[in-house]
C-alpha cells in the first residue's frame, strides 16, 4: 500500500509544487529548511489549509482530491496532527484530553491503556496540562492524537520546542511507537538526528519542491543532495547483529550483504538496529593500496565501486557515493585525494571504516 500526496499552491512569496508517493506503513520524514513547504504539506493533509490543488490517498482510500471536488473537513478526515506546541486543552485533565478524540471516533484497535503504557503517562492522568513539563505535554499530545484512531498521523516538529534533554527523553517513546503501530506517519522536522532515528522513508524538500524521495538508506548516501552538505552527513544502514566475539570484544553486523565489525554490543544476535557511518570518517584507498592482513588497526575494509562524485565547494571537499555489497556509503574527502586516486564514477575502491567511528542510532525494536 502506498500513501500518495500531491499539492500545488501559489502563495504571494512562493509557489509550492510538491508530490510524493511513499509506503503506507512506517515513518516518512519531511525534511528541509524552513520555508520549504513542510508545514503546508501537513496543514493540507490535515485539511486545515485548502491549497489550489491537492490530492491525498492512502491505498485506494481517497481523503482529498480537489479535482474531483473531494475535500473532507478536518473533523471528518480522521487524520491526526501533533502540533509543535502540543495544544492540550487547558481546562481539562490529561485523561480528559486523551479521551477527547477517542470519544468522537469510531471504535478502533488503538486502546487507551496501551497508549498510556506505551507513552509512560499513567502517573500524569489526573494532572492539568499547565503542570506538565514540555516533554510530558508532547507525549500526552501524541497519545491524544493516536487515540482518535487516525488513518494517518501527522507530526509537525513535535520535538522542536524541547531542549536536548527533553528530546532524549521523548525519542525512545517515538521509536517504540514506530515499532508498535502500522500507522502511516508523516513527520516534519529540520533536525537530521530525528530523521536518522525515526524515519524509514525520507522526502527532501527545498523551496516548495521535492528534491528527492525514497528509502532513508538511499537518500542519506546520495552525494548530490543537501543532506551530503551537512556536518553530520553519512550513510544510515539497517543492520542485523550476526555474532558477538566477547574475547576480542567485537560484534559483527550484517548490513545489506556487507559485514561491519563494531565494539561489542548488548543486542542479542538476530537483533535489528540502525547504524550511521559518518562521511568524514571514511578513508578511501585503491584496491591494491592495502594488503590483506596489513599491520593496521582498522577492521572494516570494504570493496566497492564509486557511483557518483559531487563537489562541496564551501568545505573544499568532494562527496563520494560508493556502492558496497547491496548498500551504499558516503565519504567526504579532499578534492586532492580524489585527484590522486583518480576517482571517477565506476572506479573500484576500498572504503576503510574504523569500528570506533560507526555510530549506533538508538532504536528499540
Amino acid at each position: 500500500m502506498t500513501l500518495s500526496f500531491a499539492l500545488r499552491h501559489r502563495f504571494p512569496a512562493i509557489s509550492l509544487d510538491i508530490a510524493f508517493e511513499v509506503p503506507a506503513t512506517g515513518v516518512t520524514a519531511l525534511f528541509g529548511p524552513s520555508g520549504a513547504g513542510k508545514s503546508s504539506v501537513l496543514a493540507a493533509a490535515a485539511g486545515l489549509f485548502r491549497p489550489d490543488e491537492c490530492r491525498l490517498a492512502i491505498g485506494d482510500e481517497i481523503i482529498a482530491d480537489t479535482r474531483k471536488q473531494v475535500w473532507l473537513a478536518p473533523e471528518r478526515r480522521r487524520v491526526g496532527l501533533v502540533f509543535q506546541d502540543s495544544r492540550l486543552f487547558p481546562h481539562m485533565s490529561v485523561a480528559t484530553n486523551l479521551r477527547y478524540g477517542m470519544r468522537r471516533a469510531p471504535p478502533g484497535d488503538i486502546g487507551f491503556d496501551d497508549i498510556v503504557d506505551l507513552l509512560g503517562i499513567a502517573p500524569l492522568l489526573a494532572r492539568r496540562p499547565h503542570t506538565l513539563s514540555g516533554g510530558e505535554r508532547q507525549r500526552v499530545a501524541i497519545g491524544r492524537a493516536l487515540l482518535a484512531q487516525p488513518r494517518l498521523l501527522l507530526m509537525d516538529e513535535p520535538l522542536a520546542s524541547l531542549d536536548a534533554a527533553r528530546k532524549a527523553e521523548i525519542l525512545p517513546y517515538l521509536a517504540r511507537l514506530h515499532a508498535g503501530t502500522r500507522l502511516p506517519v508523516l513527520y516534519v522536522t529540520h533536525a537530521f538526528g530525528e530523521v536518522a532515528q525515526l524515519a524509514d522513508t525520507l522526502v527532501l524538500l527545498e523551496a516548495g519542491r521535492v528534491l528527492a524521495a525514497g528509502k532513508l538508506e538511499e537518500i542519506a548516501a546520495r552525494a548530490d543532495l543537501p543532506t551530503a552538505r551537512r556536518d553530520d552527513a553519512g550513510a544510515v544502514l539497517e543492520a542485523r547483529v550476526l555474532s558477538h566475539d566477547p574475547v576480542r570484544r567485537l560484534t559483527t553486523l550484517g548490513c545489506g550483504g556487507i559485514e561491519l565489525l563494531v565494539p561489542l554490543l548488548a543486542t542479542p544476535p538476530g537483533g535489528r538496529l540502525r547504524v550511521r557511518v559518518p562521511a568524514r570518517e571514511i578513508i578511501l584507498a585503491r584496491p591494491d593500496g592495502i594488503a590483506a592482513g596489513a599491520a593496521i588497526s582498522l577492521h572494516n575494509i570494504l570493496a566497492g565501486t564509486v557511483r557518483a562524485l559531487a563537489e562541496d565547494a564551501a568545505r573544499r571537499a568532494t562527496m563520494v557515493e560508493i556502492a558496497v555489497g547491496g548498500t551504499m556509503l558516503l565519504a567526504r574527502v579532499t578534492p586532492d585525494a580524489t585527484a590522486r586516486l583518480g576517482l571517477t564514477p565506476g572506479s573500484r575502491i576500498l572504503a576503510l571504516v574504523k569500528s570506533m567511528s560507526i555510530e549506533l542510532v538508538d532504536r528499540e525494536e
Binding site: 485539511g47 478536518p74 486543552f89 481546562h91 477527547y100 478524540g101 499547565h130
Partner: protein, 208 residues
Amino acid sequence: MGFGLPPAVLTAWLLARTRFPGRPLLNALVHLPMVLPPVVTGWILLLVFGIHGPVGDVLLRWFGVRLAFTTAGASLACAAMTFPIMVRAVRLAIEAADPGLEQAARTLGAGRLDRLLTITLPLAAPGILVGAVVAYATCLGEFGAVITFAASIPGETRTLPLAIFSVLQVPGGEALAARLSVLSFLLAMAGLLVSEFLGRRLNRAVGR
C-alpha cells in the same frame, strides 16, 4: 439579564470568529444602545414591543404577553441597554481563547457546535461571567430606557435610580434618597467585587 446572555454570547461568537458580509452592520447595531440616548432606545423598544408595535402586537394577541409598562418590559429594556457591554466582554473573552486549540479539536473530530461548547465557551467562561456580572450591576442603575418603555411603577418597574429620582421630587425625601444611594453604591461595589473574584477563580480553573 438572564435572557440577554445567550443572544449576547451568540452575537459575540459571530463577531469574534466568523466573517460574513453584514458583520460591520451587526457590530454597529449591537453597540447602538451604548451611544444612543437611553430615552431613544426606550422609545424604539416602545415602537417595536409596545402593544401596537409589530412584535408587541403579536406577543399580546398570540401569547397574551404584554411587555410595555411591566416588570418583564423593564428587564427587556435593561437587557437592551446592557447588551453591548455583554457582547464586548464575551467577544474579548472569545478572541482571547487560542484558536489553535479549536484547530486541535477539529483534527480530533469535533464539529463546529461541539468545539463551541467544549472548547471556546469553557475557555471564555471567565470573561463571559465577568461581563454578565457587570451587566447585572449596570441593569440596577438603568434609568432612561426603563422609564420610557416601562415607566416607573412602584414595585413593578421602578429601578433604583428611578426610585431615587422620584423620592427626590417629594419635599423632605433627601434622607430616603441618601439611603437608596448607599444601597445602590453597595450593590455596584458587590457586583464588581464578585465579578473580580469569580473571574480569578475561573481563570485558575481553565489553567491560566
